[in-house]
Structure formats: C-alpha cells, structure tokens
C-alpha cells in the first residue's frame, strides 16, 4: 500500500491525480499464463467488435430471423446476471441480517456483481442493432412502460448505481477520502435495501421476457411461473458463483489475506453450501410441482424430455444432494464440485430458454449455433472483466482489510451511538 493511504488523508487535488496516475501502472508480473492467453483474445475480440459495429450483427453472429437472440443474450446477459445474484443475497445476509461471518466476502462479491452488470449486461450494447438509441428507454420521450424489457433496463441501470454505492467505501478508502468515506458509508443500507428489491424484480424479469414466447418454448420449460423459477435459481446461481469465485480469489490473492480470515474461509464455504442446498431444493420442488400441474408426462419420453430430465436430475437434484453431503461431512471438495455443477445447470437452463428449447421443432440444420466470433467476443468480455477485477483487488481494500483509519473512525462512531442510545432507553422504560 502506498504511503499516502497509510496516513489516510489526501492533501490536495494534485496529490490525488499523482496517486491515481501511479496506481494505473501494472502491479506484479506481466507475463503470467493467464495474461498470455487472455491478452490476444481480448485484442481479437476488440477487432471483432469494430467489425460488428461497422458492418452489422450479421457480419460476426449466426443470428437469423428464426433465432433473433443468441449467446450474447442467452449466455452473457441471462447467465451473467444470474451469477451476479450473489451480491444481493450476500448484502442481505451481511447488512440486513447483520451476520458478521460472511463480512469478509461481501466486498469482493459486490465488486464482482457490479462488474458483471457493467460487462455482461453491457454486452447488450453489442447486441443492440441500433445501439446509438440505447438511452431511449431512459431519456426518450416514448416510454414503453408495458414492456418487461423496459422494467429490466431501468432496473439494470438503478441496480448498477446501487452496487456502485455499496462498493464506493472501498474506493474512498483507496483514495484516502475520509469525509466521502463517511458519506457513502451511510448510504450503504439504503442502497442494499433498494438493490434487493431491484434484484428480485429484474432477476425474475429476465424470465418474464420469455412469457410472450409461449408458442416457441418447449412446453416442459414454458410455464407462467418462469419469473419465479428465474428468481429462485438466481439465489443458488449467485451463491455457487461466490463459492467458485471466492475459492479462486482466495488462492490468487493469498498474500492479501491474514491468517484469521484464512481459517474462517472454510466455515464460510460450508455456510454458503448449506444455503445453496436449501435454494436448490426449493427450486427442485417448484419444478416438480409445475411438472405435475402441467400434466406434460408423455413429453418426458421424447428426446426433449430426456434433456429436461438431465437438467432437472443431473444439474439441480444432484448438486443439491452433493451440497448436503458436503455440509454434513464438512467436505469442501464436494461443495466446490456441487457449486460447479449447479453453475453448469444455470448455464444450461438459461440457454434452454433462449436457444435450445426455443423453437425446439426446428431441425438441427436450421438451428442457431454460435459462430466462433460470437464466442471470442464473449470470452474477451469475460477476460476484460477479470482484468478489471484483478486491477481493483490489487489496489483497493476488497479482499484485504480496510486501512486503519477506517477502523479507528468506526470505533469512535460506535461508542457515540451507544452513548446516544442510553438516554433513549431510559426514557422508554419510564
């Protein structure tokens, strides 16, 4: 950490600029295997993005009139947003339920959620045919208020702002801005509550987008409860992502974590595994209820039925059992495996709605299969997100402890609130 943040206060604007300029420089080794693989892909992706902007969607994608939505929607947006669900769940547990146990993970998860929204929901920008009109739902004079997508777009914007507010104390601590740290810190609870409400609605809203594709989605997947299913699945999708991403960060940024948090990390993973098992079970139960009420039994004997069962048994029930097993026997390897399986389940599920079970009646030869260019652009979006994540974690107190001046101010504040509470308590007992 630099000298300036150590004693906490930036003296003037010039000093701040110098500090930021120094922080822009890369830290650590440049030629790591990850960098060597990801850098050329990002470059290639950037070139492809330029081609897409210059020549239209058809020049890089395999989209067609039959399949207007490809992996940029079905994977980048649908899966990316589900995986970012960890942020609203963890902020709920830490800030609303005030469980200190999960506190060490909350900043990394919020940062991950924020970047996921910026990059994966940002993938919408590439997918929009007329991207220069992207501000129309926000600033235009014609609001399609009856559209689910109108709701989703507003919620994306507002939620990104909430997540940024939730993360901004880390930025203030990095820059050593004490006053601003205090102000944005006081906004956290509001942003969390607002963010949870927004998440509930847009996670389910992404599912509601498919409600009008009634005649195009296989009856085993189409149900009026798609929004509920999308919301429920975002819970274990988000938590599984926290387990997955947390495990990797824990290894990569090892030197930033003190011994105490090293020890608590395993307990955290087991707690998350327990929550995942619960959410998966509720989701599985809901799926079964819908299946029974839909009376679609004969369809289970078709090839699509087999595919449905693979998703339901192999990628929902199995990870649920694995999570339970891992929690019961305190086996972290099993919990991590279960997390990967349930993440795979989410990927398959979202792709089913947008691509695979979508117009299942169209023969394979005429179906949408993503082009290599769509995949490269998707990969470069993911890699860029990881780069930015790493850049932030190496500079701001995300995984490491906040600077000492924050702790000092907190203790002062806490003793003040306690002092304030005493007379009130006296009055109320009188």
């Amino acid at each position: 950490m630099s000298e300036m943040t150590a004693h906490g206060e930036m003296k003037n604007l010039k000093e701040l600029f110098v500090f930021i300029r120094n922080e822009m420089k890369p830290k650590g080794k440049v030629f790591t295997p990850f960098n060597i693989i990801s850098f050329p892909i990002i470059l290639l992706g950037a070139v492809l993005v330029l081609i897409r902007l210059a020549k239209g969607l058809g020049s890089v994608t395999n989209l067609s009139q039959e399949f207007p939505w490809g992996i940029w929607i079905g994977f980048d947006v649908m899966v990316g947003v589900a995986f970012a669900g960890g942020a609203y769940i963890l902020t709920f547990v830490v800030y609303i339920l005030r469980s200190e146990k999960y506190h060490p993970l909350v900043r990394a998860t919020v940062l991950n959620g924020f970047l996921a929204y910026v990059f994966y929901a940002g993938a919408i920008f590439l997918d929009l045919g007329r991207w220069w009109n992207i501000v129309n739902p926000i600033l235009g004079n014609k609001f399609g208020v009856n559209s689910v997508l109108f709701l989703v777009s507003w919620h994306f914007l507002l939620y990104m702002i909430s997540l940024f507010i939730e993360f901004s104390p880390a930025v203030a601590e990095w820059l050593g801005l004490r006053r601003i740290r205090k102000i944005v810190g006081s906004l956290t609870i509001g942003a969390v509550i607002f963010g949870i409400a927004l998440s509930t609605l847009h996670q389910s809203g992404l599912g509601a987008l498919f409600l009008m594709a009634k005649d195009k989605i296989h009856p085993l997947w189409y149900t009026e409860f798609i929004p509920v299913l999308f919301f429920l699945s975002s819970i274990f999708a988000g938590l599984s992502m926290v387990i997955f991403e947390g495990t990797i960060s824990h290894r990569v940024f090892r030197q930033q974590i003190d011994q105490e948090h090293h020890d608590s990390f395993n307990r955290i993973l087991i707690g998350l595994g327990k929550a995942c098992a619960g959410a998966l079970f509720v989701y599985f139960f809901m799926k079964i209820l819908i299946l029974i009420h839909g009376k679609q039994w004969p369809l289970l004997a078709t090839p699509m039925g087999t595919w449905f069962l693979i998703e339901l048994i192999g990628l929902v029930l199995l990870p649920c059992i694995l999570f339970l097993h891992g929690v019961r026997y305190q086996n972290l390897t099993v919990i991590k495996m279960a997390a990967i399986l349930s993440m795979l389940g989410i990927i398959i599920n979202r792709l089913n709605y947008s691509i695979i079970a979508y117009k299942w009646y169209i023969p394979l030869s005429e179906r949408y299969i993503p082009s290599w260019m769509e995949i490269v652009i998707t990969l470069s979006i993911i890699f860029t997100e990881v780069w930015v994540f790493r850049w932030v974690v190496n500079r701001m107190p995300v995984i490491r402890e906040s600077p000492e001046w924050v702790m000092e101010e907190k203790t002062v504040q806490e003793s003040m609130t306690v002092r304030k509470e005493v007379p009130q308590w006296k009055i109320s007992t009188m």
């Binding site: 009139q65 045919g129 949870i196 409600l211 306690v418």
Partner: protein, 293 residues
C-alpha cells in the same frame, strides 16, 4: 417495538412515497379496464378461395413501400413455403390440400393487442388507432418484438450497420389520406377486402352462410390471439394452409400482465419488510454491543 420519532418519520416517509407510487401506477390499470370497447380498427379480409396466386399484391406492396420488385412471372417461388423477409413484407404461398391448390397471402396480422407492441420498451412498435401496427426509428434493435410475435412477422436487417425492423404497416401512409392498402387496391380477383373489422367479420360470416360447401365455418383471426386485423376464410382447415391453430385466444400482452402488476407490490412491500428486519437486527446488535460494555 415502541414508536419513537425516528421510526415515526420513517413510516411517514414510507407511506408518502407509497401513496405517490400507487397513484402513479394504479391509474393505468383502471384506465385499461375502461377501454374494454376497442376502437374500430381497419383490417383486411382474405378470401383464400378467390386467390389465384398472381402475386400482384407482392408487386404492389414492393412498389408502395420502396422494396425490391419481385419477379411475379417466376412460378418456381411456390415450390417452397416462403416467409416474409426484410425485402418482402408480404408473400403468397401455394399449398396442396385435400381440396386442391390453395394460395395464401401472408403478412403482418395487425393484432388488436399485439405482442410486439407490448414487448417494445421505447414504443417504436405502435398499434395505430386506424388499425396498423407500425415501426419507428427510435427502435433500439433489441429484437424483443421477434420472439414476442405469435406469427413471427418482424424481420430484422442483420446484414446492416443501420438495421431496421421490416414488416407490413398496412400502408399506414395511404390509410391516413383515405386510400386502401396497395395490396388490396391491386388484387384483380377481389380476394382482399378492406374495411372495419366489424364489417369484415359480417361479410366473412355472410360468405360462409351462403356458401357452406365452399368454406369451413371458421374465420381465422376473429378470436386468435385476441383478434387480428387481417382475417382469413378458407375451404380447408387452416393447419393445411400454413397457419398455427394452437395459438389460443389470449392476447399476447396478457401473458406478462400478471408479472407487471406484481412489480409495484414488490417495490413497496419488499423494502418495507427489509426496513423492518433491519430495524430489529440493528436493535439487537446495539443491545449486544451495549451489553458488552
């Protein structure tokens, strides 16, 4: 939990915001209820028993809407079922049926309550009071209208850097100056009839009653997906001439209505609940900390 000044103010603030939100959101619902009587939309009755497959309508459509002119003498186009495309807003298909060849003109159905219009988040797709469903250039190109259309009509120019949604607009420009759509005007067999939906349904019923042997007793579009501006009558069941008969009679926007109605509820109740939980846990934490000291 006793009510102190802070909690009182919080509740007051919450109620005020809630009332404002409710007032802002509910009127739309009640307005929607008042307009149960839809305005008299204009539409077109297609009598497939009269169509001879001359494709004059295709040519007239191309000319009126500045699309590439099709070669109407080329009969090889009938070998495969065609769909409308970014350069063809209407196409005529030939079907071999139990009662011989049937020609069917296809284009946007101009639904009474269109899925594409409910899908559009910037109102680029609009149902006009005259009846047409039109597209405008404030579109973002998100293509949500495409999966939301039961007839898969909106077509997107994937090959263009300035792409548009291409679909029939019932010659809205001509309608507004009192002319009939180009295809109707140029049909030599009077297979197409332009009028209000009410008149067209009456006329379709009259034809079916007077010629029961020549028609099946069904008007496609009278009830399908809540009613469409284009109406079809035929001598063979509609699934034999390329129509989906499994679409139901529910207008497509209805499918998302329940979700959208739940939005204001969630936005009000969820934060209220969370604020409550927060107040409880906060008190608990303070008691705990106070106890330690």
């Amino acid at each position: 939990m006793e009510i102190n000044r802070r909690l009182f103010l919080q509740l007051l603030g919450g109620t005020t915001v809630g009332t404002v939100l409710v007032n802002f959101l509910i009127p739309k619902k009640s307005q929607a209820k008042i307009i149960t009587q839809l305005p008299e939309f204009m539409g077109v009755l297609v009598d497939t028993t009269r169509c001879v497959g001359c494709r004059s309508c295709e040519a007239a459509c191309a000319e009126a809407n500045h699309l590439p002119r099709p070669d109407t003498d080329d009969s090889s186009v009938f070998e495969k079922e065609r769909k409308t495309s970014v350069i063809q807003w209407t196409v005529v298909n030939r079907y071999e049926t139990e009662k011989g060849e049937v020609f069917v003109k296809r284009q946007c159905m101009h639904c009474n309550q269109p899925g594409c219009v409910a899908a559009c988040l910037v109102k680029a797709m609009q149902k006009r009071k005259e009846g047409p469903v039109t597209w405008d250039t404030n579109c973002m190109g998100c293509r949500y209208c495409m999966p939301s259309c039961p007839f898969e009509i909106p077509k997107f120019e994937f090959q263009s850097a300035n792409p548009k949604i291409q679909k029939c607009n019932l010659c809205w420009d001509r309608l507004r100056v009192g002319e009939r759509p180009a295809c109707v005007q140029n049909c030599p067999e009077e297979a197409l009839l332009f009028g209000t939906r009410r008149e067209l349904i009456e006329e379709a019923r009259r034809r079916i009653y007077q010629n029961p042997g020549n028609y099946i007793p069904h008007i496609y579009g009278e009830h399908e997906v809540g009613g469409t501006g284009y109406l079809y009558i035929s001598k063979v069941p509609f699934e034999q001439i390329g129509f989906r008969t499994d679409l139901g009679t529910t207008p497509y926007p209805e499918y998302t209505k329940d979700f959208l109605y739940s939005v204001p509820l969630v936005l009000l109740l969820w934060p209220a609940f969370l604020i409550g939980v927060n107040a409880v846990t906060k008190r608990e934490e303070e008691t705990r900390r106070g106890g330690k000291r």
